[in-house]
C-alpha cells in the first residue's frame, strides 16, 4: 500500500482513517454469511463492543454513525464502515458462516436494542 494512498484516506475521511486502519490491522472485521447468501459485517470496536455494518447500504449500529453521519451530516461514514471497506479491499476480512436463524437473530438483536 503506497504512502500516497494512506494520506489520501486521511484527507478524505479525516479522523476516521487511523482508527479504521487500526481495526484492519487487528483483523477486527468479520464477514458473516448465511446459506441464502445474505451477508453482513461485524466489527469488533475498540471498546470491545461488536457493531454490525450492512453490506448493501451505508449503515452501522455504532453511536458515532447515528450522530455524525445521520444526524449532523458531518461525516461520510464511521470508522467501522471504513474498516469494512478497507478490509474488503486488502482481503483482511475474517469469514464466518452461520445459519439463517443466527443471522436473523443478529439483525433482530439490533432492532431490539434500538427499541
Amino acid at each position: 500500500v503506497p504512502d500516497e494512498l494512506l494520506l489520501g484516506l486521511k484527507f478524505i475521511f479525516g479522523p476516521c482513517a487511523v482508527p479504521a486502519l487500526d481495526l484492519v490491522d487487528q483483523r477486527s472485521v468479520t464477514r458473516v454469511t448465511s446459506p441464502s447468501g445474505r451477508t453482513l459485517y461485524q466489527v469488533l470496536g475498540s471498546s470491545g463492543k461488536l457493531y454490525t455494518c450492512y453490506s448493501s447500504c451505508h449503515f452501522c449500529t455504532c453511536p458515532a454513525f447515528e450522530f455524525s453521519v445521520l444526524q449532523k451530516s458531518e461525516s461520510l461514514l464511521c470508522k467501522h464502515i471504513l474498516a469494512v471497506y478497507l478490509s474488503r479491499a486488502v482481503g483482511a476480512c475474517q469469514e464466518l458462516s452461520v445459519s439463517e436463524e443466527q443471522l436473523t437473530s443478529i439483525l433482530l438483536a439490533e432492532e431490539e436494542e434500538e427499541g
Binding site: 504512502d3 494520506l7 489520501g8 484527507f11 486502519l21 490491522d25 487487528q26 449503515f59 444526524q71
Partner: protein, 653 residues
C-alpha cells in the same frame, strides 16, 4: 496501534505532513508572493463552492498559466479548459477563504483521483494551497469581502442516498417527503436556511441543538435561535442571606453589601423540544424576580452567540430533570412547517441532556419579545390544591400551588452556617381546611438554602400571613421542598392552569390539627389540656424591644441603666417583658404521653408566671387542674421511650 501496521504508518506520515503544512502556512503568511513557476503547481479558478460533510468542494477550471499579467476582466472562461473538482479540508478552506472567481495555486504534493463512473477528476490533498491576488482591485475586494459573512451552501446527503434507496420508485420518493420522519425535517430546513446569497442576513434558526453544534462556524455569532421561555428563576450565587431569630419571631436582615446575589436564569425550549438553561446576569435580592417571571414567561426569545457552559445529562448536577420532566416535548415537526396534519402524539420522553448556556459579557444576546402574546408552546405550571398534591404518587415530582403561610421557623442546626439554614413554612389552603379527617390541615414546606427568596418575599413572610404562590416545588417522600429553581411569588401568575384549585385567600379562622397520636416532630398543632405539673426551673423572663420584638437587648454603652436594641439602633425606653415557663399538661387527645409545653403567652397562666418569677412561690392549688387551650404549638420532639411530646407555644402569622 499495531506495530508495523497500516495505522502506525499513517500516523507517522500524518505527523510529517502536519509539520509540512504548518511550515507552509507560516511561509504563506510571511512571504506573500511565492513564485509560481515551480513545476507541479496546479492553477485553478473557482467557479462554484459548496460544503459536504466538512469537506469543501470547489468546482474549478484549470488554467494553463497564472493570469498574473491579465486583469480579472480579461480572463475569459475558455470552454475547453478542463473542469476539476477540488476538495479542501475545513482548515484549508478557513485559511483560504475562497470565493467564486478566485484563483488558487495548489502546490504539490496533491493527488488526482479518477472515479470510475465520473467524468470530472477529483483533486485531493490540497493542503498546500494559496490564493493568488491578481491586482489591487482584487486585493481591495478581498478586504471588503473578508468582512462580510460568506455563507457557503451545505450539501446535505439525504438519507435516501446514504442508504442507497435511489433506485426505488419515484412514487416512494414522493411518499417519503410527505412522511413525517424525524431525520428529514431538520435537513430540509437546513437546506432552506443555508442556501443563501453570500451577503444575506443571518438566518433565524429554531433549533438549539443546531446552534450549539455549529459553534465556531462561519456566521454563528450572529445567528439567532428562537426559543420559548418556559420558566424564569434564580440560581443562588455563593453569598447567602443572613437571618436572625428572636425568640419565636424570625427577622430577616439583608446583608450589608446590599443583599443576596443570585443569577437570573431562563429555561428555554426550542420548537423541537430541546431544552436549555440560559444563565443571565446577576441579580441582587432587591430586584424583583417576580416581575421577570411575569414579563417573560411564555414569551418568545431570541438567543445569539451564547457561550456553552456545560452539557449536562440526566442524573448529573445541573440537569434540572425535575423541571424538565414536568414539561412535555412538543411534536417533532413544529406546526409551522408545511405539513398537513400531524398525527403523532406528544408522549415523548424528555431529552436526556440539556445545555447550560450563558451570555458573553458585555454583549446583549437575549432579546425577549415582551409585546407578543404568549407562545403556544408555553407550558404554564399546573396548579393543584394541596390535598391533591399530597395524594400524588411517586417521588421527585415538581408541583405548583398557592397556599397561606401560617407560621415560619428557621431550622437551627448549629453545624450549618446561618445563611444555609432551612426555613420551614407551615402552609394551608382551602382544600386542606375543608377536609374533615385523614388528611392534615397544615403541611410543612421546607425551603432549602438553594431556593432563592427575594427580600420582598422574606419581608412579607415574616410580617403577616400571606398567600404565597409556589412554582415548581418538589414533592417526594411525603414532603414538599423548595429547592433550586423553585420560585416563590407573592402574586398568582397571570397564566397558569389551575385544575380546580382555589387560589383566593382563606376566609375565616384557620384550624390546625389537634395534637394526637399521629403528631410528629417539626409540625404545628393545637392542643388543650389541664395542668398537671410545673417545671419551676424553667421559669424565665427577659425584656424585648417594643418596636421590633428583638429579645437580645444589650446594656446601653453610655448609660448602663438603659437597654439598647441593636436592630433598631435605638434605646429601648419601654421594654416588653416576655416570660416563659414549661408546664406539663394532660391532653385527652394524646392521653398516653406526657405533654411538655413551653408557654409564654398563654393568658390562663399569666398569673402563675408572674408569681413564679417575682415571688418564687406559687399556689399549687391555683394552678393544678387549670384548663389550658386551645393553644397553638410547634412540636419540638416526640419520643416513645419515655412517651413524651415537647412543644412550644407559638403565635401564628
Amino acid at each position: 496501534l499495531c506495530r508495523g501496521g497500516l495505522a502506525e504508518r499513517l500516523c507517522r506520515l500524518q505527523n510529517r505532513e502536519r509539520s509540512a503544512i504548518s511550515f507552509w502556512r507560516h511561509q504563506c503568511i510571511s512571504d506573500a508572493k511565492i513564485p509560481s513557476d515551480k513545476s507541479g503547481v496546479l492553477i485553478v479558478k473557482i467557479l462554484e463552492i459548496f460544503e459536504e460533510c466538512t469537506i469543501q468542494v470547489a468546482i474549478c477550471q484549470q488554467l494553463e498559466q497564472s493570469p498574473a499579467t491579465l486583469s480579472p476582466e480579461d480572463v475569459v472562461i475558455n470552454a475547453e479548459e478542463p473542469i476539476l473538482k477540488v476538495l479542501f479540508t475545513r482548515e484549508t478552506a478557513a485559511h483560504l477563504k475562497s470565493r467564486p472567481q478566485d484563483v488558487i495555486h495548489i502546490y504539490p504534493p496533491w493527488q488526482k483521483l479518477l472515479l470510475r463512473n465520473a467524468d470530472v477528476p477529483v483533486i485531493m490533498n490540497t493542503y498546500f494551497s494559496q490564493k493568488v491576488l491578481l491586482s489591487e482591485y482584487s486585493e481591495a475586494r478581498e478586504k471588503t469581502c473578508g468582512l462580510t459573512k460568506m455563507l457557503i451552501r451545505k450539501n446535505i446527503i439525504s438519507l435516501a442516498q446514504t442508504f442507497r434507496l435511489d433506485d426505488l420508485d419515484d412514487e416512494l420518493h414522493q411518499k417519503s417527503s410527505d412522511n413525517q420522519q424525524v431525520a428529514c425535517a431538520p435537513q430540509i430546513r437546513n437546506n432552506c436556511n443555508l442556501k443563501q446569497h453570500p451577503l444575506a442576513q443571518s438566518a433565524v434558526n429554531d433549533s438549539l441543538l443546531e446552534m450549539v453544534e455549529s459553534q465556531g462556524a462561519v456566521g454563528w455569532r450572529e445567528a439567532q435561535v428562537q426559543v420559548v421561555i418556559q420558566r424564569v428563576y434564580c440560581l443562588p450565587a455563593r453569598q447567602g442571606y443572613r437571618s436572625h431569630i428572636q425568640g419565636n419571631k424570625p427577622l430577616y436582615k439583608p446583608m450589608s453589601n446590599g443583599g443576596m446575589f443570585c443569577r437570573l436564569c431562563l429555561l428555554v425550549q426550542d420548537a423541537y423540544g430541546m431544552f436549555s438553561e440560559v444563565q443571565l446576569q446577576s441579580l441582587s435580592s432587591t430586584d424583583d424576580i417576580e416581575q421577570y417571571c411575569r414579563r417573560w414567561e411564555g414569551k418568545f426569545c431570541w438567543l445569539a452567540g451564547m457561550k456553552i457552559l456545560q452539557r449536562t445529562t440526566r442524573g448529573r448536577r445541573g440537569y434540572n430533570v425535575f423541571v424538565i420532566s414536568s414539561l412535555s416535548v412538543p411534536p417533532l415537526i413544529p406546526p409551522s412547517a408545511k405539513s398537513k396534519s400531524i398525527s403523532m402524539t406528544t408522549n415523548l420522553p424528555p431529552p436526556s441532556f440539556c445545555y447550560i448556556l450563558t451570555v458573553r459579557s458585555g454583549e446583549v444576546h437575549v432579546e425577549v419579545d415582551e409585546e407578543e402574546q404568549i407562545s403556544n408552546l408555553y407550558q404554564p405550571p399546573a396548579v393543584h390544591g394541596l390535598k391533591e398534591i399530597l395524594r400524588i404518587d411517586g417521588c421527585n415530582k415538581r408541583c405548583s400551588f398557592g397556599a397561606q403561610v401560617l407560621y415560619l421557623r428557621l431550622q437551627t442546626k448549629h453545624s450549618v452556617p446561618i445563611n444555609q439554614r432551612e426555613i420551614l413554612l407551615f402552609v394551608t389552603d382551602s382544600t386542606l381546611q375543608d377536609v374533615v379527617h385523614m388528611i392534615p390541615k397544615v403541611v410543612a414546606v421546607a425551603v432549602t438554602a438553594s431556593c432563592v427568596l427575594s427580600t420582598d418575599i422574606i419581608e412579607a413572610l415574616s410580617v403577616a400571613s400571606r398567600l404565597v404562590f409556589f412554582k415548581d416545588a418538589l414533592w417526594g417522600n411525603g414532603k414538599i421542598i423548595c429547592v433550586e429553581r423553585t420560585v416563590l411569588l407573592l402574586q398568582k401568575p397571570l397564566l397558569c392552569s389551575a385544575a380546580g384549585a382555589d387560589l383566593s385567600e382563606l376566609t375565616g379562622p384557620v384550624r390546625l390539627d389537634e395534637l394526637d397520636s399521629t403528631t410528629q416532630a417539626n409540625s404545628i398543632c393545637a392542643l388543650r389540656g389541664t395542668v398537671v405539673g410545673v417545671n419551676e426551673s424553667t421559669a424565665f423572663s427577659w425584656p424585648t424591644c417594643d418596636r421590633c420584638g428583638n429579645g437580645k437587648l444589650e446594656l446601653c454603652p453610655q448609660d448602663r441603666e438603659l437597654l439598647y436594641c441593636k436592630q433598631c439602633s435605638e434605646v429601648v425606653v419601654t421594654p416588653v417583658l416576655k416570660m416563659q415557663l414549661e408546664v406539663f399538661l394532660s391532653c385527652p387527645s394524646r392521653s398516653q404521653s406526657t405533654v411538655k409545653v413551653k408557654v409564654w403567652q398563654c393568658p390562663g397562666l399569666f398569673v402563675l408566671l408572674t408569681m413564679l418569677l417575682f415571688t418564687q412561690t406559687y399556689e399549687v392549688q391555683s394552678v393544678m387542674g387549670k384548663e389550658v387551650g386551645l393553644l397553638n404549638c410547634y412540636v419540638h420532639s416526640v419520643t416513645s421511650h419515655p412517651n413524651c411530646v415537647a412543644l412550644e407555644e407559638i403565635v401564628l402569622l
